[in-house]
Each structure stands twice: as structure tokens, then as C-alpha cells.
Symmetry: C5
Subunit: 325 residues, 5 copies
């Protein structure tokens, strides 16, 4: 589905143009075309490939989707794939939905193809159009603005993961929470891996957009792409930190399970003793010996009961002190 | 066994030729020869070595098989070994069968030697012959097409591994599935290692087929080999992700075992108490003291039984609340 | 809040100057301006950006805070972010409070922006002013002095972490300390990760301030920045060492939990035997057989009691020897 | 002990020569000397050092042995140390015996010094002498032939380790094999580490014998040394794979121990119940209440026994169903 | 404390000289001064700094001590810090005592500063003076000789660690050694980390003293420093090997704890059964039914006792067979 197809000149919107006119505008040296597609049909994509003269391998990747994040050079144009991550709006704890944005960036065009992503990039276009002095930088700047937006959208997800971890950490030493903790830790790890697979290849690729040899469409924008790289690096480090804490948390949680098993065993042992001792005493006074003086005593029975109670009280207080009960 | 031996000119099939004529066609600057062998005898391989003037070390590797995946330069020719992975058709969960494809690629010849691999590459030849404008690129393009096919065949296996992991993940927090989970996780790890050993060295080697200094037979095909590299990189990252989740899953599974042991211990303790308390009471009323008023009561016996039942009901409800039962 | 705004010439303080005069002093080739801000308002920061001609991306980072430590070049100036770590004064074991110091360093100015950091850098200014021969080196030297101070303040925190680890290590083989150990180890790991995230990126960035290609404002100061790098490297290695010992300590602690469970089980088993055997004997003499000679014996009852005691004494001494009790 | 001391010319054996004549033959440009020592005395080694003009540090290393595998350049000669690994012939499962082969390789000499290694290299000499066209390449080729032989001898040991791992894997889910599994896994790990320490440094060193800047004595042999490197790389990867599976196998085995503990606990609980319930019933009918109607019944006793049996049968079948028994 | 202050010329001792004369001798092109200090006072160090013209940052490091091992260039001189490790003479198993040796090496002087190290380097001086042809190489050779000595002193400590590991490995599958094993493994890990922190940074630094760009004072000594590097590399690899085996040993030890818990549980279960069954039988014959034929039998009592004994014998032999007892 075609969302937008606009030509810009000198940082200002020239006109909404027809798809068939794209190649004409692209040929003009002083203007650039910015097209946005959402889950295009094969025909739409083929038409774009013709208008923009896109490389067949790149078009094939954009068509099939399910690429890893990457930024590839094809002669003097770039082909970039970014993952978008969205939480289902009704269930923020659920698995992340992974979408994709593919971008074709040439000297005077940029084409974005959005797949399985709810949130559009209309706001990026609006902001760019409000800042013509920046938009004058052309397709390279739009490319930066789109990447920056995708990357900025990772932060709330990362914050969510961090606060989920903190939530689990508060539960980790609580009794009887082991099962739910371990399930939550595993689910968090899955989420983290999705995030990691979106970030790491992109960070690596972005690192080549500033510094030494830079693709032509990005020249003069070094500080901007370094800023994106820096954000990605920050996310990367936070992910690594969470990953390590997750491993430790699982290890600690298994330890807590053993510890709580330990406590159950102690409790079991203590109560077993408290029941077994009176049973033994009762067994003794249930023996059938002819001569058992206590049996003849007037207060033999209360004495026996008292004996049992006294032993049990003693045991109970000892177990209490030893914190077995 | 010789499968095919064909000479091509200008991207079009010239003729099926005799093995003895190969060296003659190879000598022609404008045509190339594409030979496919399947588990060749020593004699067949020696004959090829003579016709194509292959390096003895490479021939030795192709003869013996059991090489690690690699791409080696011998002067202006390449020797490549790729692993093929196939599941037994009747048992998709079984161990993977590892075969090998060795390829000798020169300026105007390509020789593929297939070992322990059911699936042939006839479809590659057919597709190449349908696209003469691409086949015109010569042996380098055929080399790409064969690699691409081998790599594409890894994807369904990887998908199988991923869905096996998902299957286990659904079982991981289910009661009494610990043993089968742990067996499945171990088997999956074995499968993953086979896949990893097929991918990683190949990825590393493929990375040298585009970019800076490139073997002569691959020049001008950089974007195609980068595409293969990209697929391998994607598989590599998925494998690493699964590997990490497997480690976590095993760790979590061991935790679940401890947890379920914990629950058995609690159940055991609860039932032990429920049986032990009436036994103690019975023991007390089985004592032989002369004076035990309850024994004389008309409803002493029902009272004792009632006492036992009451205590047990109380215990049962407490254990229920505490989720020990 | 503006803390200080001073112009220096030839290593000596020239005058406290007004913010509006900064750009005038910065323009003089032979003097430099050193400004310190503490949690500035947006207006203060904007004014500085104008006076010093700061890059908007850097200003944005200083305004928002929550950056990872970094040192970035903007043309011939540097933008550095360092984390400050402070313990709450009333609770040294509590979580570390992470603050930030952002620094803008140009050929003849340095601007420091302190966020969420109690301890000021007044002492650095005082020391610098006492050593005019060093301060003569200009903004590069002040940059070094500030970095050195921030890094030196990591050492007492690191020492605290080390002695906490030693404290836990002394407890690790002590009975019944498993729960508190494991909680302490987890808290220590969290602290360590905070420290690690402050150090590692900074170390990497500092490594570029000496040796080969060095930013202009740092030239001639190589040995000083190498000294800072060396301190950071030392902290880094200590952190890595602690991290590895922490992992081992957690593993060992889980082992100690299992071991202590083992001992509880043994104790439980021993006492169960000591109670169960007399109960069995009592049961036997409680049988109602017509002919049971012992029951007729005068000393049958003491004999039975003696038998029970003898068996128990024997069991007790055996369990003692086997260290089950 | 001197094993051989032979001069070669043009790839053919010239003569067995006396040690004292070595320096004379080494001086001839068109011939080379190949000497083999086995556990030489200090005097033998000193004599060789004089004849070949060996570097004192290298001689010292060859004398003391216990070096790590390495290949060092001393001006235009090489000094190489390789580990040989042998299994005791009577006990293939025992620890590996580590020997050493040191080699001094100059433009026209090669001296091998064998320590603690049963198997000689006589076969290498024999094969070389049968292939004069290869031996014509001089000391560099002999160096290759010896390295190739040492490396080839690692393969059966690696195969042994692999099949030991497979043997353990078949046992890993078998009941009651945990102790022997864990011992076998630990012993295997020890073996693997010995292998790893022989391979990894050698692989690294061999990687410098082909490609870019190559020691003079190896020039023109690049493809041969790459072949050795390739074998070492294959062994290295197999070792890494086994190492990872070993870690997983130990982890899984610990899980299986917990699981089997779990099963013992369940069995224990089940039998305890089956014994405790009749004991309780017997206790009840052992109470001394005056009025207990059942006691008067003619079939009271069989009824009680029947009750016990019925309860136990019911329990037994339930435990069976739940797979506790 | 000043230990020695000697001037050398042409590899031979010239004279013991006064500290105040050092700068005079250092100025002579053909001689060099070798000074040894042991825990110097601030004044001694300041005097040296003046005489040798040392860099203030290096002097500061030598004064404060507690540096990580490093080799730093200051213009044409070197500043090196090495860790010395010593075991307390009366307790070889105790923690290692870490000392430091700082060395200032210039074109014609070397100054060593020893901290917290019992063993002096007098032997190095004596050996150097016995080999004037080597000592002629000047301060670079003395630097090598001191480093070589420090590194050689690591080997007995490493051997101690290795044999401690072997000692634990022999105990690891022994019953009831779990607690002492785990304590020993932890202590060994601590020792290993101390060793690792002494070796790894030094190895890295030493790697820069030979090969490509080498500090001036080390030129022409490449093979000697490579030898030191090689020793450090060997120690490094042994440490890594021990580290991995330690991790595995701890893991295995935890497994053995679980296994032994398993065995205790089985023993407990077996004995519980052996006691519980007679108790049940006794309970049955202790019931008060009017009609219980066995009670009337003449040999009822022996029959009951026999029954109990028979069941127990049967149980005992079954448990024995199942290796529960």
C-alpha cells in the first residue's frame, strides 16, 4: 500500500507526485523523492524497482522480509533493514511483535517499506517538513531521521524489560515465588534475545556510517549517525548487563529452591520428632509386662501424658531456637 | 559416478561431452565445462584431476571426504567444501545426516563432487540453463548458484530446530515432563552443534569472496556472494540465539526438577503427619494404665475416632491452604 | 546553577567573569575560561551553548543526561560524559547512586556540567590554581585533572566492593548463612555491574587520548591520559576478577546449600532410627500372645527398657562416629 | 641417543655421515643434513649446537623440554616444538602420555629431538626417501613431513575421545549410571585439555607458515603448510565442539541425579504410606476402650486384616498409576 | 633502604659509587649504573628521581605501589612494574603474598625498587657479574635478567597450584569429602586469580618488547624478551587450563553432593522399611480382638518374631542387591 510519495526541493515539499513520475523527479539534480510503502504488493514493489532502478537482490530481500538488520551498499545507494519491536497494546507483558522496515536510500531518493509494524513514520515526515534547514541535507538526513525514530522506539521496550527484571529481583528472595520467578525469568530472557537480535547487527552496521570510509549518501552527516550508533551502543550495553543479571538471577533462584527444600525438610523432621516421641512413650506403656509399677499409680496416666507434653514442649522450643520451625 | 558433463558457451548449453574431451573444452577461452560427480571411484577422480589439472592436495581432500567446510585458493582456482545436512525422510526428529559437496572452480570449469547426499543439484543446472543471461557469467556464477542452493537447504533444518525448541519451551513448566524435556534438550543441542559446524567455517570463508581482495573467479559477483554470506550470517545468529536459550532452558529445567522434588517432599510430609497423628492417639489409648477414665466412657471409642478424624481434617485443610497438598 | 566562571591566563586566575563575557575571553588566544555548572536550567545551558558555540547534539546529551560514559570529538573540541558513583552517606551498603559529569573541552575553554552528584570539584580547581606551572597547559590539563578526580573517586567504592566480597567469603562455608550469603552476593553483583558500566566505556574512550592520533586539545598530555587509562584498566581488571569470583562464590554457595541439606537429611535419618527402634521393641512387648515368657519375668519391664536404651546408645555412638549427628 | 645422521643431495640419500662431519656437509650449498636424536645427553646436544650453530636459547629449550608447542624464528632458521600424545598400549582409556619433538630447521639441515615418545619417525624418513622429487625441496619439505606425521597421529586420539563421549551419551539417561558417567565425563575433560594444549598453540604458530610473510625455509611450500593448518583447525573445532557438549553433558547429568533423587523420594513416600496405614489401623484396634464393638465380632480380626489389605491395594494401585512405584 | 649502587663499564663492575655521584656516571656514554632499593623512604626515592631525572608520574607509581603489572615508555626510558608472589615459608597452602618490583630502565642506568618481597635479586647481580660478555649489553640485559628471574619464580607457585588441583581431583569422587573439596577448590581459585593478575598484563606488555617497534633500551635483545614472553605465555595457558578444570571440578563436586544425598535418602528409606515392617506386625498382634487364633498358639510369639525376622532378612537382601544399603 502506498502511504506517501512526495518530492522535495531545497528542504521544502514540492508536491505529492504520481508513482509513474518518480524517475523523472529522481533525475533532477536539485530535488529528492521520499516514498513510504506499507506491506506492498509484488506489483507495487516491482514498479518502485523500475522507477528507482533498485538492485534485484535488495528488492528480493524487501519482498520476502524476515531479514536480519543490516545496511548494505549497492554501488552508490544503500539498502537498510531495521527491526521494529512492538508490544501488543492490550498485553504489555506478552511476547514482542517483530516487524521490519526496509529502506532504499539513493543520492536523491529514499523509499521505506514497512512490514508488520503498526506505528507509522508519519510523525518523522511531519517533523522533517517543519525543519527545512535540516531537510535540505537530502535523503541522507531522512535516512538518519527514520533510523533515529526506530532506535528511539526501542527505549521504552528496554525500560519495560529493565523494570520487569527489577520486579522479579524484588520477588527473588520471597518464599514460594520460585516457580513464578523462574517462568518470568525465562520469558524475560526470550524477550531480551529478540531485542538483542534487533540491536546488535544494526549497531555493527551503523558503526560504518561515520568515521573513515563512509557511503556517499551519508557524507557530512557523521555526527548524526554517531549519535544513532551511540544510542544503539547504550542499548547494547544495557542488554548485556540485563543478560548477565538474568543468568545470575536464574542461578540464584535455583539456589533459593534448594534452600526452601532444605527448610521443608527441616520442618518435616521437626514435626516428625514431635509426633514420634509421644508415640514411643505410648508404645512403652502399652507393653504387657506383668510388673510395670507406673501402670498401677493413681496418676500414672496423667503422668504419662504430662511426660509426652513435656518432651514435646522441650523439642518444640529447641526446634524454634534452631529455626527449624 | 558421473552425473553430468556439459560444456557451455555464452550462457547456453553447447553439448554433453565425453570426459576425455574436457581438457580440450577447458582450453577454449570462451566456454566453460560443468561436471557433476556423485561418490566417484578413485579412477574417476584421477581422470578429472588430469583433465582439469587439479592440485593433488585438493584432490586428496575430495577423495577422503570428512573435511571441515572451507574455501581454499590454489593459484587461480578455488577448492570449496560444503556440508550438506539431511534428515532421514522417515524420521524428522532423528539425527542429521551429514554429507559433503566438494567443488573445484577454475576460470572456465566447475567440478562438483557429492558425497553421502541424497538430494542432487539437478535443479540448479536446470535453473541456470533457463537463465542464460546470468549463466553467461561463467563458472563463478555456477559456484554461487550451488553455494546458494546448499545454504538455502539449511533453512528448513534450522526452522525444524527452532520449532523443536518452541515445543520444548511449552513443556518446560509442565509437571513430570522433566525427563523427556532434558532428553529433548540434549538431542537438540547435538543437532545444533552439527549445524554450527557446517555454518561457521563456511561463513568465515564466504566473507572473503566479496569486498577487498577477491579470488579471480569470483570478481564481479561480489553482491551475490555477499547475499550468501548474509544468509549464513543470519543462520549463524539464529544458532547462537538458540544455543543461548538451550543453555538457559537446561538450567531452568534443572530448577524445575528441584522445584518438583520440593513439592513431593511437601506432599510426603503432609501425608506422613495425617497418618502419624491418629497413630499417636491410638497409641495413647492403647496404654495399659489401670486408671484411664476415657477407656470407661460409653462413647470413649467413638470419641477417640472422632478426635483422630477432627485432627486430620484440620491438618488436611491447613496443608491445602499452604498448598502442600 | 552556575558554580564558577573564571578566566585564566598563563596558568594564573585572571578574574571571575560574567557569563555574557565568556565568548570575549574565549576569543583571546592566550587565556582560557573554566566554567562549572550544577544541574543547570535549560536557559543556563542554552546561554553556554551560545557563548562557547557548542554542538547541538552534545548540548542535547548534556541536557537529558542518562548517557553512557563517552568521549566524542566535535571538530576541534571534545565532549565527555563520565559517571560519578556515590554511596548514600548514611548507608554504605546500599545501592550506589549514579550521577553524571558532562564536559565540553575546547582549545581555550572547559565547561563541566554536574548532575545528581553531591561532591563538587572545588578541590580540583583549588589544586590547579596552586600549581600554575601545570595549569599553564590550559584546558587539556584541566580536563585531565577532572577525569583523574572522577576516576580516583571510584577506588574507595571498589575497595568497598572488595571488602564486601571478602566478608561474604568468610561466611561462605559457615552453617546456616546460605540465605544471607546468596542475597549479599546478588546485591554485590548489582553494585559491580553499575561500576562496570561506568568504567568499561570510559576506559575504551580514554585509550584514544594518548598514543597515535590524539584530539588536538590533548596533545602533549599523553603521559597524563595514559595514567588515567592505567587507573581505569586497573579498576577494570579488579572488577573482572571480582566478577569471576562472584560467579564461583554463587556456584559454591549453591553447593553448600545441597551439602547442608544432606546433613539435615542425615540428622533426620539418625534421630528417626533412634526413636523408631524403641517403638518397635515396645510394639513387640505390646503383643497379646498368651505365651510370652518375658512378660512374666520380674525384671521384664526394666529389661525391655534397658534393651531399648542399649540399642539407642549403640546407634547414637555409631551415628556420632559416622558424623551423622 | 643418535638415531640417524644422513646427508641428502638432490632429493637422494648421499651417505650416513659422522656427527663431526655435519658442519662440513651443511656448508655445501646443494645438499642438506637430516639428523634424528632420541632423548639426547647434554653432550650430544652440545655437539649438535656446535655443528649446526644453533641459538643457545633454543638449545636450552630442547634440553629442558616441557615447552608449549611453538614455532620460533632465529634469524634464518626455525625452532619448533610439537607435543606428541600417546595412549599407554595396554590401557587405551588411561591418561594420555605427553611427549615432545623439538626441531631445528635451517636452510640445509633439519635436526629432530624426540622426548618421551615411543613411536619413532623412521617411517617419515622412509617415505621421503621413496619420493625424491618431493625431498628435493630440502629441509622445508622434511619439516612439513614431520609436522604432518605428528598431526596425523592426533586423529586416532581425537576419534577415541569422540567415541568415549558417544559412549557416555548413551549412558547419560540410563538409571543409576550417574556416578560412573560423571567420573567418565571428568576424565574425558582432562584428556581433552591435554589435546587442546597440544593443538591450539601449534595451530596459531602454523598459521604463520603460509600466506603473507613466511620464514625463508618454508617458501614455496605454502599449500603444504596450509594443509597442516587445516588439519589442526579441524581438530581444534572438534575439540571445541566436544568441550561444549561435555559442559552440557555434565549439566544434564546433574539434572538426572536430581531427577533420580526425586524418584527415590517418591518411592520412599509410597512405601511409607503402604506400611503406615495398616500400622495406624492396628493401633486403633489395639486401644483399650471398654466398649469397642468390632473387637467382639467373630470375624473382627479377619475384617481388620482385610481392611488393611484393601487400603494397601488401593494405595498401591494409585501409586502405580502416578508412577511413584 | 639502599641495597646496592654500582657502576659498570664494558660488562665489568667499576665501583660501588655514592648516590650523589650517580648522575655523573650516568652521563658517561660507555658505562651504566645499576641501583637496587628495598622499600625506600620518600627521601631516597626523591634523590633517585633527581639523579636519574625520572618522570614524576612514574616516581609516584613506584612510591605508592599497588600498581598492576605494566611496562610504560617515558621518552627513551622504560618504567616497569612486576608482581612478585611468595608463599609464607611456614604455611605453603596459605594465601600468596603479593609484592612488587618497580624498575626504571634508561639507556645507561637501571633502578629496581622492591616492595613487600622477601627474596632479593642479589643472585641476579652475581650471575650477571660472572658473565661480562652478556652484561656488556648494558641496562637492557639487566632488565631482561631481572624480568626472567621474577618470571622463573612464578613456576614453583604454578606447580604448587597444579599439584593442589591434582590432590583435589583424587578426592573428588571420594565419599564425604565434598565439603573439604569445595573449600579447597574455592581457595585454589583465589590463588589462581592472584597469579592470573600478575601474569596476564605482564604478558601483554612483554609482547611489545620484541618484534616490530621496540623501545630503544631493548633493541638487539629481541630473542631474550621473546623467551620471557614465551614463559609468560606458558604460565598463562596453564592458568587458563586450571581455571577451566576448576570450574568443571566445582560443577562435578556439586553433582557428587547431590549423588551422595541420593544415597543417604536410599539408605534412610531402606532402614525405615526394615524397622517399620516389624512395628506393623507387632501392631497387628497387639490388637485386642476377642478372636485372634494366633494369640492362642503355643508358639505364636516365636512365630511372630520369626515372621518379623524373615521379612526383614528378605528386605535387607533386596536392598543390598539394589545397592541401597
Amino acid at each position: 500500500m502506498l502511504i506517501n510519495c512526495v518530492a522535495y526541493q531545497n528542504g521544502r515539499k514540492l508536491a505529492d507526485i504520481a508513482v509513474a513520475d518518480i524517475s523523472e523527479y529522481v533525475a533532477r539534480p536539485d530535488c529528492f523523492v521520499w516514498v513510504a510503502l506499507f506491506q506492498p504488493t509484488n506489483e507495487e514493489l516491482d514498479e518502485m524497482a523500475v522507477e528507482f532502478k533498485l538492485h534485484p537482490l535488495a528488492v528480493e530481500d524487501a519482498r520476502k522480509g524476515h531479514q536480519r538488520p543490516k545496511i548494505e551498499e549497492y554501488e552508490d545507494s544503500l539498502f537498510a533493514v531495521l527491526h521494529t519491536l512492538e508490544t501488543a497494546p492490550d498485553d504489555p507483558d506478552a511476547r514482542l511483535v517483530r516487524g521490519e522496515v526496509a529502506m532504499f536510500v539513493g543520492r536523491n531518493y529514499i523509499l521505506s517499506v514497512r512490514h508488520r509494524t503498526q506505528k507509522s513514520f508519519a510523525e518523522v515526515r511531519a517533523r522533517c517538513e517543519r525543519e527545512p534547514e535540516l531537510l535540505r541535507n537530502g535523503s541522507g538526513f531522512v535516512f538518519y531521521a527514520l533510523m533515529d525514530t526506530v532506535v528511539d522506539r526501542y527505549f521504552p521496550i528496554l525500560d519495560g524489560v529493565e523494570s520487569e527484571l527489577e520486579g522479579i529481583e524484588e520477588q527473588i528472595f520471597v518464599h514460594n515465588a520460585a516457580r513464578s520467578n523462574i517462568e518470568a525469568l525465562y520469558a524475560l530472557k526470550q524477550k531480551l534475545m529478540v531485542l538483542k537480535h534487533a540491536i546488535d547487527p544494526l549497531m555493527e552496521a551503523t558503526g560504518k556510517l561515520y568515521g573513515g570510509r563512509v557511503p556517499q549518501v551519508c557524507t557530512g552527516m557523521g555526527e548524526y549517525f554517531r549519535d544513532v550508533y551511540d544510542h544503539l551502543h547504550r542499548i547494547h550495553e544495557t542488554i548485556e548487563g540485563i543478560r548477565e543479571m538474568l543468568t545470575t538471577a536464574i542461578q540464584v533462584n535455583v539456589g533459593m529452591i534448594s534452600l526452601s527444600e532444605n527448610e521443608v525438610t527441616k520442618k518435616l523432621a521437626a514435626w516428625a520428632a514431635i509426633i514420634a516421641v509421644p508415640t514411643m512413650v505410648a508404645g512403652i506403656y502399652g507393653m504387657n509386662f506383668k510388673i510395670m509399677p507406673e501402670l498401677e499409680w493413681t496418676f500414672g496416666y496423667p503422668f504419662a501424658i504430662g511426660l509426652m507434653a513435656a518432651i514435646d514442649l522441650y523439642l518444640y522450643s529447641r526446634f524454634r531456637k534452631a529455626r527449624w520451625l
